[in-house]
Every structure is written in structure tokens, then in C-alpha cells.
């Protein structure tokens, strides 16, 4: 009986102590990566509806995923009458979880369009379907399976330096499950080795979502999750090092070679003789072709925009030049040129953003990337970068988009009180 009482006392103290640690972590502002994703039987990984947490790796920002699984404000699936919808597809640069929602490119774009062209009976909605780590294959599946339900008139696909390597199972460095495609006999086909996660019932999804949201509320659980992830990574690295030593090879040399081979910036900047990289490019082009075909079928205007690397947008000339010289990059517009050729072939407007972003950064002497915990010109777009990107996109849409031109005429007519014929 005495032991039983002792055990209860010890357990109570332990629980209180754990609560104290949790409180201490909150007080000290310690945060770890939050969970925003869930498995999806079609897109493999998607934002979890109503996920709520903090982005802490770059900046420090509260992130809420809407009930439809988008990094966006709440939307209705069916648009209101007179609403022009623009759907954005892309990866973390467009999802922009590093900045507050109202400062994301999508939201700034929507606000500006409504302020300049909006009127009674005409409004704009910029729907953000972008997701952190999203590959071109996932963007294609997202478009085919979800985006059309929202009836967008314009679809903008933003490619970035990870877009090409993530089209190849071998070049992809992130372990998260994702779909892959292959080119077989000149045709784009799903990679038979890709296995989508099993479909879960709505009840199971809801329960898992609640559990993950609950986990997001406790710093200790987030710490545990991250520690396990990092621990597994360390063990795997150790295993590969031991394996390399056992084989008599230098682990370091092997790693270096791999890194050089898959380095996204390298693939982005210059053509590769490697068959693996060329195949990845072909898959990327095939997927973009499929996206263009989808857009044509649904009568939507498709845009292709390319976002460059951080060095391309770095306004510090010395730093930029030193980086390019150190890596031996002479011509850095290889990927953008190739995407532009593809866009011309598919008859879709192309928007290369990197030089415009650099121009903005240099003109205003600002860093469009970087946060207090990354240093300037590192990582994703900050608030300035998102605003700049929105400005660039708006300029191009106003100038070249047929849908926007029509809306503009409508707006002008309304201003001049000319009855619409």
C-alpha cells in the first residue's frame, strides 16, 4: 500500500515537472517544426484542413490552413457571380508560410487586383493551391483533381529550382512520399514504383487531424517528433558512413559526389550531360505539357512563371559574383530559357521572375529573401519579396492576360459609366 502511495506521488510530481518543462519552453519561446500535412490517396501529401501551427525555421509566423486544405483564407468551392478566379500552383515559395497570410504574394495580388479593377459585380479571388515541398507531379494532380472544382479562369504554375530534380526519384533528396512519372516510348506515364498512401475514411482523417493539431499545441511533443526525426537521420548517416568504410570507400567522397550531382542549384544553372537530369527535365516538360492540356480542356488561361534561386535575387553584387565564380557558373539562365522555350511551344505566357526580383531588390536596396533567423538573402521570400513578386505578377497580368484585359475593360466602362453591350 505504501509503495502504491509512493508511486502515485512520484507520478504526480513527474507530471507536474513535465508541465513545468512545457511552461518553460513556452516562456523561452522555444518552438519546433509544426505538422501541417496529411497523407492523400491522390496527391500523396497535402496540407491538412484546419491545421494550425507555427513556421519557425525561417522567421516566426503563425500558419493556419483553411478548411479546404489551402494556405489561404476561407474560400467557397463555387465562386460568387462576377468573380474572376486565379489559381496559383507552386511549392513553398508560393505557399509562403514564412510570412503572415495577408502578406503572401497571393493575398497581395488579390487585394491589388480588387483595388484597381474590382467594382460592384466584379471581384477577384487568388486561390493559393501551393504547398511546401510540392513537386510538379503533385501540382499536376492537384490541378486535375481539385483545382477545376473552383472554376478558375487563370491558372499560374510557378516552377522553382526544386521542380526539375523532384521529377526524378533518383535526384529527389526529400524522403516524403510523392508521385513520380517516367517517359516511356516518348509518353509520360506514372512510375509503377509510386504507391499512393491508402485512402482513409473521413472519420479517420478527422481523428488524425485532431491528433496532429493537438500535437501542435504541445512544445514537448513537437520536440519529441523533431528529435526522433533528427535521430533517425543521424543513425542513417552513421549507417551509410559505416557501410562506406566497410566497402573501403571514403564516405566523404561518396557524399560529395552525390551532393554535386543532385544539387538543385547546379541543375538549375547549367545543362547536364547526365541522362538522369535530362530524364528529369523531360518528365518536367511532359508534366507541364499535361498541365497545359488540362487548362485548354477547361478553357482556362495558363501561365508559367519561374522563380530563381536565392543567389539570383541577391542584391549584394560582391556576394553574388563571388558565389557564381566559386561554383564556376557563367551563364545562369539555362533553366529559365528552357522553360521559356517550352512555354512558347505550348503557346502559354511565360514569366521569368528572377531578374525582375533582382532588379526590385537592387533598386530598393532591400533583401527579398531572408529572415531574422536565416540572415539576409537566404531561404524563402520575406514580406518584401512576396510584395515584390505580387507586383511583378500584376504588371504582367495587366499587360498580357486576356482574362484580366476583359476585366479591365469592364472596369473602365463602369468608371466611364458606359453601359456594357
Amino acid at each position: 500500500m505504501r509503495i502504491f502511495k509512493d508511486l502515485i506521488s512520484v507520478a504526480t510530481v513527474a507530471v507536474l515537472f513535465v508541465a513545468l518543462l512545457e511552461g518553460g519552453m513556452r516562456l523561452a519561446g522555444v518552438r519546433y517544426e509544426y505538422s501541417f500535412f496529411e497523407s492523400d490517396p491522390v496527391i500523396y501529401t497535402t496540407y491538412r484542413p484546419n491545421a494550425d501551427g507555427w513556421e519557425v525555421k525561417e522567421g516566426e509566423n503563425r500558419v493556419r490552413i483553411n478548411s479546404l486544405g489551402m494556405r489561404d483564407r476561407e474560400r467557397t468551392i463555387v465562386p460568387a457571380a462576377g468573380t474572376t478566379r486565379i489559381a496559383l500552383l507552386g511549392d513553398s515559395l508560393v505557399a509562403a508560410t514564412q510570412v503572415p497570410l495577408e502578406k503572401t504574394m497571393a493575398q497581395v495580388l488579390e487585394r491589388t487586383l480588387n483595388n484597381s479593377l474590382g467594382q460592384a459585380g466584379q471581384s477577384f479571388e487568388v486561390l493559393n493551391f501551393a504547398q511546401g515541398g510540392s513537386t510538379l507531379a503533385q501540382q499536376y494532380l492537384m490541378l486535375r483533381n481539385r483545382v477545376w472544382d473552383f472554376e478558375p479562369q487563370i491558372v499560374m504554375v510557378f516552377v522553382s529550382p526544386i521542380s526539375v530534380p523532384t521529377c526524378s526519384r533518383r535526384l529527389d533528396t526529400v524522403a516524403a512520399p510523392k508521385p513520380f512519372y517516367l517517359i516511356r516510348d516518348g509518353r509520360l506515364v506514372p512510375d509503377p514504383r509510386s504507391h499512393a498512401p491508402a485512402s482513409a475514411s473521413e472519420e479517420v482523417r478527422r481523428r488524425n487531424g485532431k491528433l496532429k493539431n493537438l500535437m501542435n499545441q504541445f512544445r514537448l511533443l513537437l520536440l519529441l517528433r523533431q528529435a526522433i526525426g533528427e535521430g533517425v537521420e543521424k543513425i542513417e548517416k552513421l549507417e551509410s558512413e559505416i557501410g562506406a568504410i566497410a566497402k573501403g570507400a571514403s564516405a566523404e567522397a561518396e557524399t560529395d559526389d552525390d551532393e554535386r550531382y543532385v544539387y538543385p542549384v547546379d541543375i538549375w544553372f547549367r545543362p547536364h550531360a547526365s541522362a538522369e537530369v535530362e530524364q528529369a527535365w523531360q518528365v518536367a516538360e511532359g508534366l507541364l505539357g499535361r498541365i497545359a492540356e488540362e487548362a485548354r480542356q477547361h478553357g482556362a488561361e495558363l501561365w508559367l512563371a519561374s522563380i530563381g534561386t536565392e543567389v539570383q535575387e541577391n542584391p549584394d553584387v560582391a556576394e553574388r559574383t563571388a558565389y557564381l565564380a566559386a561554383h564556376g557558373y557563367q551563364e545562369i539562365a539555362y533553366s529559365e530559357g528552357r522553360f521559356e522555350v517550352l512555354a512558347r511551344r505550348e503557346s502559354i505566357p511565360y514569366l521569368g521572375m528572377s531578374h525582375r526580383m533582382l532588379d526590385y531588390a537592387e533598386r530598393n536596396r532591400v533583401s527579398v529573401r531572408g529572415f531574422f533567423n536565416t540572415g539576409p538573402n537566404r531561404g524563402h521570400w520575406n514580406e518584401v519579396g512576396n510584395a515584390a513578386a505580387a507586383g511583378i505578377v500584376i504588371d504582367e497580368l495587366l499587360e498580357r492576360s486576356a482574362v484580366i484585359r476583359r476585366a479591365r475593360i469592364k472596369s473602365l466602362q463602369a468608371h466611364r459609366n458606359i453601359p456594357d453591350r
Binding site: D6, V13, A14, F17, A28, L223, L224, A227, E230, F372
Partner: protein, 472 residues
């Protein structure tokens, strides 16, 4: 091997288990192997140098002892001690002569050379017998927890612990784990957060407001103390896990009401070492000079403390500032004591004023210790009187990211002071006679905290600030 890594924690755990499971006579061997493994992970070449120096000093000590009374003994002592001094000076001077070049300085050189010098002098003076067995001696010199930041433990207190009877493992494990936890708390919660604010101040010396300068000026001593004492606590704690109790290195230094008292409470193993092997012999040699002899001894002692850190202008000015105030303190000591005897009612107020004045002297001297250059230190001091200008704006800037959470360091610092006060008064071990559930609760909390600490190390993706005193 980084101190704040899971690898290091695992290494410590494995070493302790091996040490505890080994028969008593093999324990020094286990400790020696563990220490050299640790040293080799840092630099195998320097481990060979350490071994060579250890072996030379071991045989030199035996020879000095056996030839005591003959002219050879003082000569040999002088030669070996001079060689050790040259060894440390060569490395420290190299770093000064080639500031831009990354040169490997043996880990813990300042600590192990001082341990060896004191051992040789003690053997020569006959205050300790020369150690007969090489392995325990080598384990003493290379004892890995004390390699990073001391303390500078004397052989006379370390070596007999190998022979001590009994196995106070349980009590010392609890005490050791608590010390380690307190040390990491001081480092990561207090020192690293304060470093953010101090660094901000040094980056914004020209902000037009005195606020960043004031914060850097007043917070750096707290940062340095938390950093250094944290490292000392970790070393002490790991030693306790092996059942080896090391000396305390700090005794509430900021409660000192004079600068000489401060130096009796700060880095105590270094100051007591210098007192025994430099100040006292020097004082004896200059006793016929009267006050001038005292001044020379004080200044020489203080300058040695400063130069022990490195041969830079900043450290020299740090030494000179301290030496100046120490001389004033020593020369006015008698008069002040008489004054307090005549006015006992003012003693409390005088003590408080003394504490504040001492803190200011420490802050002033440590500005030269911390500043990247003499010009930066002068710039910071100059900016203290620049005025506050837009105080709201300056305050908003200093509390903006990445400093927004850093202020937790201040209440955390108070907690560490309380913990240290309890430790000084009652120790960190569990008092006898407390109920069993309290004992087990305490053990459970420490165990949970250890797991928590390991998770923190594992989850950390970016590196941490190195310990300041690990550079010496």
C-alpha cells in the same frame, strides 16, 4: 566532439558505466582511455603532444623528489617549468602573431599546463609526494571533463580520490546529473540569450541611442559568468558521475563588495593557483620594498591572469583596469576598515555601494575582454553617454527578433543564482532522512530533465555558440 551533443552525452554515459563496472585498480586506466578518446576526437596530434608532456613531467617529478636537497632538483624544476611556460606562451603568442590564420591550439592547454606546473612545484617543495604510477597521473592531467574549462585542480586533491574507499555512487550521480543540468541551463537559457542582446549592442554601437551600449556594458558580465560557470558546473557534474569531486570555481562573484573580493570569488582555481605559485613567492621576494612590493605583486598577478587568456591588447587592458582598481583597493583597505569600524551603521549601505561599484569595474574591464577591438570597446564606452534619443524606437529595436525571446535570460539568471545559493549552502545531493517518495520524485525529475536535455540536443538543427572559456 561537441559538449552539447547527444554523442557527448552517450560518451559520458558509456565512460561512467565502464568506470563504475571496472575493478577499483583499473578505474584510472578506464578514465585515461576515455580522456584520450575524447581528446583524439578533437585532435589526435595534440593528444600525442599531451601524452609526451605528461610522461616527461611524470618522470621529472620522480627525479625531482629523489634528488631533493641536491642542486639538480631546483635546476630540473626550473627547466621543466620554464619549458611548460614556453609551451603555453608559444601557442598563445602564435595566435596573437597570426590573428587571421586558423591555428590549432591544444585543447585545454591553459588548464593542463597549469596543473602540471603546480604539481612539479608541489613535488619540489615537498607539499605532495610524486605520483608513483603513471596511469593515474596521466588520467589526472588529461581528465576530460576539466579539459574544456578547468577547473585547475591540484594533484593533491584529485589523485587521492582514486584510492578513496566506499562507493558513494548513488548520491554523487544525482548530484552530478543536477550539476550538469544546471550547467546546460546556464549556458543555453541564460548565456546564449544574453549573448543575443550583447551582440546586438556591439552591432549597433552607432545607433544614436545609449540603450544598446548600456545593455552590452551591463549584461556581458552576466553572460560571461553564466557561460563560464555553466561550463564549470558541467565539468564538476561529469566528475561527480565518476565519483570524483572537483573544486568549485565560483562563489557568487557579483555579491563581492570590492574588486579584490570579486577576484577571490571568480575563477577561484586560477586565482588561488596564481596566489600560491606567483603572488606569494613574489610578495615574499619583494617584502623589503614595502608598499611598492605589494603593488608590484598585485599588478604582476593580475597581468598574468589577463595574459593567461591570451596575448591581445584587449586582455592587456582588461588586466590593467583590474590591476589599477585592485591596487587602489589594497592600498585603501586599512583606511576603509577603520572607517567602517567608526561608522558601523553605514556598513550595509557601504556594502551595497561596494557591490555596485565592483560590478561597474567588472563591466568596464570586461568590455575590453569582449570587444572585438580596442576601438570597439572605446566606442561602446563613449556611446554610454550618447543619450537615449528615441527611447521607444531603440527599445522596440532591441526587443525585435531575434532578441524577442532573449529576455527570458534575466528571470532565468535569477533562478540560477538561487540554485547556486542552495548548492553552496546545502549541496546538490539529496538530504538524508527525507521521505522515500520525495527521494524518488527528485530522481524522476532529474531523469526526465536528462531525457529532455538529450532531446533538445538531438532536435537542434543549427550549431550553438561555443563556450567562451573553451577557447582558453
Amino acid at each position: 566532439m561537441q559538449l552539447s551533443s547527444v554523442e557527448f552525452l552517450l560518451f559520458v554515459a558509456l565512460s561512467v558505466v565502464a568506470f563504475r563496472l571496472a575493478p577499483r585498480r583499473w578505474r584510472p586506466d578506464v578514465l585515461l582511455v576515455a580522456s584520450y578518446i575524447f581528446y583524439c576526437t578533437w585532435n589526435p596530434g595534440m593528444a600525442v603532444a599531451l601524452l609526451a608532456i605528461t610522461v616527461i613531467c611524470y618522470y621529472a617529478a620522480l627525479y625531482i623528489e629523489s634528488s631533493r636537497g641536491r642542486p639538480l632538483a631546483p635546476r630540473l624544476t626550473l627547466v621543466v617549468v620554464a619549458a611548460l611556460i614556453l609551451y603555453i606562451v608559444a601557442f598563445k603568442a602564435r595566435a596573437m602573431l597570426y590573428p587571421g590564420v586558423s591555428l590549432a591550439i591544444p585543447l585545454g592547454i591553459s588548464y593542463y599546463t597549469f596543473r602540471l606546473i603546480s604539481y612539479l612545484l608541489d613535488v619540489y617543495w615537498g607539499t605532495v609526494p610524486a605520483e608513483r604510477s603513471l596511469v593515474p597521473f596521466a588520467a589526472y592531467v588529461a581528465f576530460f571533463p576539466q579539459m574544456m574549462a578547468g577547473p585547475i585542480e591540484r594533484a593533491s586533491s584529485f589523485l587521492p580520490q582514486f584510492e578513496a574507499e566506499g562507493n558513494p555512487w548513488r548520491g554523487k550521480t544525482f548530484e552530478g546529473a543536477t550539476c550538469i543540468l544546471l550547467g546546460f541551463f546556464k549556458k543555453f537559457v541564460v548565456a546564449d540569450n544574453l549573448a543575443l542582446i550583447v551582440d546586438y549592442g556591439y552591432r549597433h554601437l552607432d545607433s544614436g541611442s545609449s540603450l544598446p551600449n548600456i545593455l552590452s556594458f551591463y549584461l556581458y558580465p552576466l553572460q560571461l559568468y553564466a557561460d563560464f560557470s555553466g561550463l564549470a558546473d558541467i565539468a564538476l557534474g561529469i566528475g561527480l558521475l565518476f565519483g570524483l569531486k572537483g573544486p568549485e570555481n565560483f562563489n557568487a562573484p557579483f555579491s563581492a563588495s570590492s574588486i579584490s573580493e570579486y577576484w577571490r570569488r571568480w575563477h577561484m582555481t586560477l586565482t588561488s593557483w596564481l596566489r600560491d605559485y606567483v603572488f606569494m613567492p613574489l610578495r615574499m621576494a619583494t617584502r623589503h620594498w614595502g608598499t611598492a612590493g605589494l603593488v608590484v605583486s598585485v599588478v604582476a598577478n593580475m597581468m598574468l591572469i589577463a595574459l593567461w587568456h591570451g596575448f591581445t591588447l584587449g586582455f592587456i587592458v582588461f588586466g590593467l583596469v583590474n590591476a589599477t582598481f585592485l591596487v587602489v583597493d589594497v592600498l585603501t583597505s586599512t583606511r576603509r576598515q577603520k572607517f567602517w569600524r567608526r561608522h558601523p551603521g553605514l556598513l550595509t549601505a557601504g556594502t551595497v555601494v561596494g557591490m555596485l561599484a565592483t560590478y561597474h569595474i567588472v563591466s568596464l574591464s570586461e568590455t575590453f575582454f569582449r570587444a572585438p577591438s580596442f576601438a570597439d570597446a572605446a566606442h561602446l564606452l563613449d556611446g554610454l553617454a550618447a543619450g537615449f534619443g528615441d527611447l521607444g524606437g531603440a527599445f522596440a529595436a532591441v526587443t525585435a527578433p531575434p532578441n524577442h525571446h532573449a529576455w527570458v535570460a534575466l528571470p532565468a539568471y535569477v533562478l540560477t543564482e538561487i540554485a547556486d545559493a542552495v548548492r553552496r549552502k546545502k549541496g546538490m545531493s539529496l538530504p538524508a532522512g527525507i521521505p522515500r517518495w520525495v527521494q524518488w520524485s527528485a530522481v524522476t525529475c532529474v531523469a526526465v530533465a536528462c531525457v529532455f536535455m538529450s532531446l533538445l540536443f538531438l532536435a537542434r538543427q543549427t550549431g550553438t555558440n561555443p563556450f567562451v572559456y573553451a577557447n582558453f
